[in-house]
Amino acid sequence: MTKTVTKQKASPPASLPKCPTGIQGLDEITLGGLPLGRPTLICGGAGCGKTLLGIEFLVRGALVHNEPGVFIAFEETAEELAQNVRSLGFDLDDLIKKKKLGVDYVYIERSEIEETGEYNLEGLFIRLGYAIDSIGAKRVVLDSLETLFSGLSNVAIVRAELRRLFRWLKEKGVTTIITAERGDGTLTRHGLEEYVADCVLSLDHRVAGQISTRRLRVVKYRGSPHATNEFPFLIDEGGISVLPITSLQLQHQASTERMSSGVPAMDAMLGGQGFFRGSSVLLSGTAGVGKTSLSCHAVDACCRRGERCLYFAFEESEAQLLRNMRSIGLDLEPWVKKGLLRFQVARPTMNGLEFHLTSIYKQVETFRPRLVIVDPITSFLSSGTDAEASSMMIRLVDYLKSRQITALLTNLNHAGSALEQTNVSISSLIDTWLLLQDLELNGERNRGLYILKSRGMAHSNQIREFLLTSKGIQLTEVYLGPEGVLTGSARLSQEAKEKATSVIRMRAVEGKRETLARRQQALEAQIAVLQLQFQTDKEEMERDIASEHAYVVKLDQSRDEMARSRKADYSGIQVPSKKGRK
């Protein structure tokens, strides 16, 4: 017994020694397992998995913790039991052969037994003791002890003997599970909880909206803290798994590592490096905007890095997805073959929400991907109420975050509903929210993409036009002009129009420039003519002036000569003024 104490992991200090059950999730809820060396009561209605839980406790004990166990079956024979659990992968016959398991079928039929006077249940003790000692069992399951009440009429003796049995089991130091049927308004029909006071688990199987969900709750656990909520659990080919997802707290690490979205242009929008690893990314948009295509780019990028990726598809089959992605130049098949990519395809209405969550949880635990795609999360609405779906998504996002797995969720917005609203109202949980939007203009639909939010990184505030080409997704800048946002052919025609206009303008400017040059030339030519004319005039005038001057001088000379010849008084002669020098 002491050796199991050392085996338990993550148990709080100075707590009760515990016996790990090995059942997925149960040890987390009970913070380590069932009380070691003490009896635990498991109660619940018919068909809620009590026997199976007991069997799995023993099988996991034998296989994982190397603790042999004894199963005392009051309701079914060893053969029936082995047959019933074979489908879950438990080979009881093999374990019995290896002396790791003992199964004893105890048959009590009241009609075949006559009671005469005093008796005790020493026979049962001896059988149990023999079974325990012959394989050195550390674990015991009694399923279901209440058969004693129906098989024996002397209730006083049975009660006294049960009390003795539990004391005896404690002395033996075996960890025991006792199963009991739920009573009317009580935990068990015959009040077994009075005897087993250490730990009580309650199983439940409820049907809501034609979908059944199994739940487990720790009713009491003396001497130990434990989770108190009801936890969904499921029984599948691997046995029982309990989902302690509601117990998660906001304590996850925040990675600064970035990962590419698979579209370089989008990485550029997201601060140049893409998403944060371990963040949750939401892609929302109406039908046909390319949510799946965008997700598949991220898948491709993830696989290219050699990381595993798990794709939960709720609307398309694997083959259909692979074919469709090939049409945009993405061949995901090699990744599937390499084991890097796994598709998990299911109709959302096939199971309850808790089952979906548990199966996602199980898949993630076994496949250990770095990226999980859920496409689309809105499908969950069809298998539960809004509140349930939203609670489920919160747990899913929380869970993936705590595991540092990047979650890429797509959300289908129905036409007419507000775009910036998710139907399962998880927007506040999301770190990066990309909105894909149909832009309708001039009789055609085009896709626009923008980042609604992206926590912790600088990101673009621009709308990009989102093109699905045969070479994958391309993001181009949309036309932002005086006429608003233009996309598609409207953008192309607007661009062409602008180009044409600018060519015409260029030509006009050139023309004007030429005219100017020509005018200048003309002007210069005129100036030259005028100057030439002026020159001519000037020369002519100077010539005139010179000849006039020569005439006047000659005239004076000739008058002087005349006066001299006539001997006239020189001073009495007047010179005519009008031909004087100017």
């Binding site: 037994i113 006559e114 009671e115 005469t116 020493e122 026979g123 001896i126 003791g129």
Partner: protein
């Protein structure tokens, strides 16, 4: 016989097989076991003189034998023969009920021999 403590009551010395084969399961020498054996012997001698064989099995010595006859309570008397097998639990202090259990007396009309 696989038992260690076998007790045969040879009232009749002939070797023909006994009509009544009874097996009493006990756990050690507990007062209930001792009382059961004494009561059984008395009843058999009274009602089945010479026709019975009693085998006593101590489960403390042979715990593995408890499984075969589906023993839960101690003491348990198992009527192996005549068929069908019947079980009577308790110290057999109630003679009437023991006789009913052994099918020696009808449970509805007491006092009538079968």
């Amino acid at each position: 016989m696989k038992t260690s403590s076998l007790l045969r009551c040879h009232e009749d010395q002939t070797e023909k097989p006994k009509l009544w084969q009874l097996r009493l399961y006990v756990a050690g020498q507990s007062p209930k076991s001792v009382a059961a054996f004494a009561n059984l012997k008395r009843i058999c001698e009274e009602h089945l003189a010479g026709e019975f064989e009693i085998e006593v099995i101590d489960l403390i010595e042979n715990p593995r034998l408890a499984k075969d006859d589906q023993i839960v309570a101690i003491p348990t008397l198992v009527r192996k023969l005549p068929q069908p097998i019947r079980k009577i639990i308790g110290d057999l202090s109630d003679t009437e009920r023991t006789l009913v259990g052994l099918n020696l007396r009808s449970s509805t009309k007491s006092g009538r021999w079968q």
